[in-house]
Symmetry: D2
Subunit: 304 residues, 4 copies
């Protein structure tokens, strides 16, 4: 029957849970030194980047993920100048960070040069030329190693990493020891923000454990979430610092800052959205609180 779609990408989140994405075109498929990369065109979500079988971002809704990761931390900070990213290869985080006019330098430390080259070639809307922006510097290295060996200080550090699948390149970037190192590299009023796992009520161990772990290092930890259609789930994020309380940050001040910075044309983020993001429903707060695990180097977290 010609009306059936016959090419599919099936993303499993559990042995009994999967999402089927009809694919128009498998654009690229390969294996870098670190991960399997697929780039596919779907009718529903446009072009998608898939690493190790998990959709990382999709053309039609990547703005949700990237604005949610970047703008709360950047907007609460009164004048972020020096920004570092661990991971973030697609370049969309660069694109969002550079919208804040105070930014003077952005450093991206991503272990996988091949992914960045593929993104430059196949995902130009994501990075929008920012790899070559004057303020941007890219280093291909393990972010933990880089931070350990450097003494630079940053206003905001973002962790834009895939999920810590077993044997993935990033599972040692979710531990208490690593977050302590991050904190040492933050200026006094610095903030860390990161993607922080699934908020599906059955799959929240990862989110809860990251929350607890950050709590052992930072005074304020705010966990927040956004529904990402192409992920088929609500996804978790976190920001942490010793100064900023994101949940109580007034929506009006978000809006006025975005206005001052000439950023009121964002697609997803504004004052109301900030309130939405940082007011997790009661069940998620409870599930987060029920998770007691703290992630440490000698017992790192891995997910499905």
């Amino acid at each position: 029957m010609v009306s059936y779609n016959w090419k599919w990408f099936i993303e499993y989140t559990h042995p009994t849970q999967a999402h089927m994405h009809g694919v128009e075109h498998f654009v690229y498929s390969g294996q870098t030194a670190f991960q399997k990369v697929e780039i596919v065109d779907t009718e529903f979500f446009g072009r998608c980047l898939i690493l190790d079988g998990k959709i990382q971002s999709a053309e039609h809704d990547e703005y949700i993920y990237h604005e949610t990761l970047i703008h709360p931390a950047m907007t609460m900070h009164p004048a972020p100048k020096r920004v570092m990213i661990a991971g973030g290869g697609e370049g969309a985080v660069l694109r969002e960070i550079l919208k804040h006019p105070s930014v003077e330098e952005v450093l991206m430390v991503d272990i996988d040069q091949e992914v960045i080259e593929l993104c430059e070639k196949y995902l130009p809307r994501w990075n929008a030329g920012t790899y070559h922006h004057d303020k941007v510097k890219i280093v291909f290295e393990d972010a933990r190693k880089y931070l350990a060996e450097s003494t630079e200080q940053w206003d905001v550090i973002f962790m834009d990493l895939p999920e810590p699948l077993e044997n993935s390149p990033c599972y040692m970037l979710f531990t208490r020891e690593f977050y302590r190192l991050v904190k040492e590299r933050l200026r006094g009023s610095g903030i860390i923000a990161l993607q922080a796992g699934n908020l599906n009520i059955r799959l929240m161990e990862c989110h809860g454990a990251i929350y607890n772990t950050l709590k052992t290092v930072f005074q304020h930890v705010d966990s927040y979430g956004a529904y990402i259609p192409s992920y088929d789930t609500k996804w978790g994020f976190m920001c942490a610092s010793d100064f900023f309380n994101a949940q109580d940050f007034p929506a009006g001040r978000i809006d006025s800052r975005l206005q001052e910075r000439g950023m009121n044309d964002l697609q997803y983020y504004d004052g109301l959205t900030h309130q939405h993001l940082f007011t997790l429903p009661k069940d998620l707060r409870r599930l987060r609180a029920a998770e007691l695990r703290i992630i440490e180097d000698d017992d790192p977290l891995t997910t499905y």
Copy 2:
């Protein structure tokens, strides 16, 4: 390979989008006078009720849908006494409504008696015996016909209906003419609340159209949303009245009312959750505003 699950329920939301639920046990399957009914047990979400191929509610997360539909309207109303429901066969709405101590009478008008009998038999946790509660009355009839012929007045009217699939029993309960009839049956300070379609950014026509249609009838319309894991998406709701502005309703007052009513053990809803629900992200506000359609009897809405 024995580790593969081999029984699946596949829910399509689009020709190129589907969610696969591994099933442990297909408990019941049948066809009532109005719709196809499946009751299945899944490892991931527990027991699920499926009507015409769409999951209506799942054991492990039905509290999200039902608390989100019921409690905002019921809590904003200072003393709801007479409550009516169109649809709502599973009985979970009864269970939630009866938690509000001011309630004196609840009328459920559901067209499909067989579904209610199946729910009583197979979904006892949903209805928790409430079909036979002293304050509850159940009428098996088309809700529109009932409202047209009765002159009773209600404090809150809930529309807990499936999506208006073509040929489904409910697609004439989403029109301007119907909402006008509902308004005539509301007491002066009355509120209507309803499930109101998918909030997936690609599938928001239905939500936007219902919003516009309610706007032609009520002074305040608040559209809101909750991520429902078993639906695999954020789902839309609406409440409308001439008196209550849900978005600005203070979180603190929600919490104190729940306290007064002895309801602070809800799983999902409280003041913070209320804020979360009613602060739709900017993209959804924009997509809602982009939809101009008003639904009328002679051009009813049907969905995929």
Copy 3:
């Protein structure tokens, strides 16, 4: 989209190969002491019996499997009187065996009484009342144990067993030691016939190994195959004896015997079909010959 089927049984034969069967109704699902049992109704193949995730037989084409297993051996034998079956719970083998008028006694030894009770209840067309036929005796026991302890002699012994999945009840019924035992229980002109694994060119280890193993015990071993639509593959069978050469058995004599026995209304089997079954294509003969394994008790065969 209402036109999509939403209930599926997915049968995996390999991590990258699966067949999807749209299901109308999941009739029964349970776990006996020995295996998982599903009985489902499909639009395409009618009712199906599934053990441990593998279709055993389907209403619309079970005649192919059962006639192919039973009639070559029974028809080549000039007057089979005493017939034994190991397995065969559905009862369709009884139905076919009893068509041969010389039969005086049929013994079925099946380990799983519950499966037979389910088949009597749910698959009446398969067994057609034969469980209670005068000539039939059923014993619920492990067939190997039974044969070891009994001294009865049989004209034909059938092995109608599921595939030897790991931990399945039957994987010790495919070994050289077991076949030796079978031979001791056969009368001089006796024949054994059995289902003998997939004939998919990528999945023939099992068939080749059974062939080699039988060769160490019997003078003539004929391997044959029939395409079974509901299995989605060509399936292998074998018959072995010290007297009968099935491949060279003349088609005309098959037809005249069926005629004499009043059996010319079979659906699948006749002289031409016999020729078809026993003339395996060259590639399968080669692949069978390439498999060198002999199955022994201390190294039994298990399949995917």
Copy 4:
């Protein structure tokens, strides 16, 4: 879970029947003037060519389809010199035809030049350089138009066409009028051979109708079948002529001719295989006989 395959090609044969092929790499995807083309690499069957959503041939088993189509007709003919093919773009039919040493000229008439170019680039094992063989001539045209306008005579004409899907380029090459035209272009002892539809017992309308239609034109029509693993079904073929009776053609003579022609290293075809192919089981003979349709230009056949 990394062990799941996440890229799939799903081939539907019916709204409730589908086969899932895990894909390693989607090699090529495009749309020619006539059809959608996919070339994929699978772990199980190697490289596959897919036209309009249907697998045409797979690396690991294409020899079955191509030997079955070509060698019965070519071997029964005592000295085929001039051979024509309608369709056959992959080139594997050329490869097989050229094995017969008597062949002097092979003409391939295929409507879709782009498919042939893709096959030359991506399927070199299929065509094995034969597109450029001295004896081979390729014309890009509709085969029916070519035959109508030419007066050349052929010893064997092969129809290697996809299924007659609605709007496919080939559905007018299955009619009585077309077969009459073919007959006019055959030398006196000429033979036509063709692929002739699915032999799944539920999907045999097409095969039966082609059989009836050829019967109105040729004195001998033999329908035959081979199980093709990558098709997941037994597939039908036919050969027709006024002289050759394939079913009764002695196996020994097949083997001696192959020997004389230096062709005893074929993978699939020999005397025994010939017997196997031309002895359709009784149920298929009955289903073929039950189909009464004759295909004519003003009522052409289309399939699912």
